[in-house]
Amino acid sequence: MIPRPIVQIEGLHKSFSRGSEKIDVLIDLTLDVPEGEFLALMGPSGSGKTTLLNLIAGLDSPTSGTLIVGDQEISRMSETQLARWRTRHVGFVFQFYHLLPVLTAYENVELPLLLLPLSAAERKRQVLTALDLVGLSNRLSHRPGQLSGGQQQRVGIARAIVTDPTLIVADEPTGDLDSKSAEEILDLLVELKKGLNKTILMVTHDPRAAARAERVLHLEKGRLVRETSLYDLHPGGLNGDAVTSSPRRMEDVVREQP
């Protein structure tokens, strides 16, 4: 069965103005991302990969074209509508973690949940589940400054998954980490992909990181120039595991763990 596309992009165009100069960052891009796919975006600096990620995450609006995520045409949403939509549908992992330094790991993960109509008990359950999934149950009351880079990125990932979003977008998630921590984070993303069957979009410069994805898209000067699939990279499938057919809830995964 071919999973339905969770992201549908058609004729997407994005340009910026710098003075009188018009810069085309994305040009006539068409792309489908099936639900549950782990997709990597690669390309040189200025190729438009972060802009594409921002557009898919609803952080920016396209100049023209259609952009549907889930069942919603987000290119026509207002800033406030996009904010509401992001809360429920997108989890964002940053290169530099961007945790609030004054809050503990627990509070940082709780931040997006405060925007949802949940009771304090429900919030607590989801925060603990997310931190458990990233292996930081014992660092709840630590502040970012008291955590290593890898641990901070795990908190960032917990914050991204805590709302059970449709889509997880990661912008160079290993870009600020040493190779060991980077491997751990990539392992974690793969585990989340396996366990929760979330759709993950990752921008990276690192071929080793991209090699963990099922499909890699190469952008150059705002155009898709090449595509490498899972079967080119891993003929046996992603880490030898089959893609499950539908996303799962975090709680179910944690419950299944021994």
Binding site: N54, L59, D60, A83, R84, H98, V102, L114, L115, D171
Partner: protein, 473 residues
Amino acid sequence: MSNLDAWILWYLDSPWRVIGAAVALLVFLLLVVYRDDWFFYARLMLKSLRRNLVRTALTSIATFVLVLVVTMVWTVLYVLDRVTAEKSQDLKAIVTERWQIPSQMPFSYAQPLSEGAAKETNDVRPSDSMTWTFVGGTLDPAKRTRENIVFFFAMDPAKLMRAERDERGNLIRTKTGKIVFNTMMDDLDQLSDSEIDLLDQACREMEKDRRKVVIGKERLAQMNKKVGERFTLHCINYPFIELEMEIIGEFPDGRYNQSALMHRDYILDAMDAWKRKNGRPHPMAEKCLNLVWLRVPDREAFRRVAEQIEESPDFKSPAVKCETASSGIAAFLDAYRDLLWGMRYLLVPAILVTMSLVIANAISISVRERRTEMAVLKVLGYRPGQVLILVLGEALLLGVAAGLASAAASILFINTYLGGIKFPIAFFPAFFIPLDALWWGPALGALTAFVGSILPAWSARQVKVAEVFSKIS
């Protein structure tokens, strides 16, 4: 004044209305925007303020000091406004010489003026009255220094304080337990039961022995005298007269700390004695009534009493005028008009603008430093309005806390330790910071914090996520 202005003034007149509105607004904001999560946001705001303790402390101190200065200025203006505000019921009227300052009327005016110059049965009579004669003197005629000079109000002690007592001398109380008493003096109706009891006893002692006087505690301290001591007053404005005096009590702490009070008959008797000795009236004999206070139930009664007095042929040489106490004091304060105008319309606004700039500076720096955090919040789904409220909330927390601390500290320090603000204007010895400052302080802090932080908060609201992260990467 427009209806809107009048309504705003009426609304602001009650601290409870203002506090109620502020609390309702806060609760509304918190409940509507954040529902049950407001503890988290309050914690986040506090933690954000704590991240740069030096900056937060300096901003708080600046706000604290500026609120303190505004509180002191407003205290003076507040007291003066209150005493010059026209009442509609239970008015006090003041009768003085029409064409001369200081007012010096013959004492023969006292009785008919106390009756409101009423002659016919349908004339309006005041419900109470009081005469004042000012007697200034020195303890040492060879050394007229500030500590030796005393200024007495000579009046009927019963008008200062008269509590009802039974045959055994016990105080009579109402069914609700309040002491039944009467006073013509301002603010003495606020005294505690024990203070009323003591002051009433002192006044009764003064009636028995006219040499006995009551003096405010600060004045006593300046004179280096204590209750129980005796002294001779060498009168300055009543030449050739010396009065033996015994201090039998001090005024309750507060407005009358610098005042001194003696029996009016003592100075009148002294002038009679001088006349008997010298065979001619004392030079001040026909000038020894300075003020007559009348209490009237309402404006209409005041109008009629004033008309009776001013039209009476009995008070033509010298002529007198009758005005409400507030008008009388306002006329007296006219000499300070420019100073008060400057305090009200230049000094206070300048301080408020400075406060707003101090807060704006601190919050602007904080927002600039945290643009990435604002962008992260937006990425997580926070709406622009929520980011704005978070920044405003931080500023409001700081402003309200510093304002409240400043008001509380000023009440404790200035009222208790310094004995009020010693601002030599009119006949007010000191201005005590009213309890109303407890809402002025936080309200000032909140207002200036709001004004100071609205632009930085708006800037935080406008943060463009894509721009912030493109700069970082």
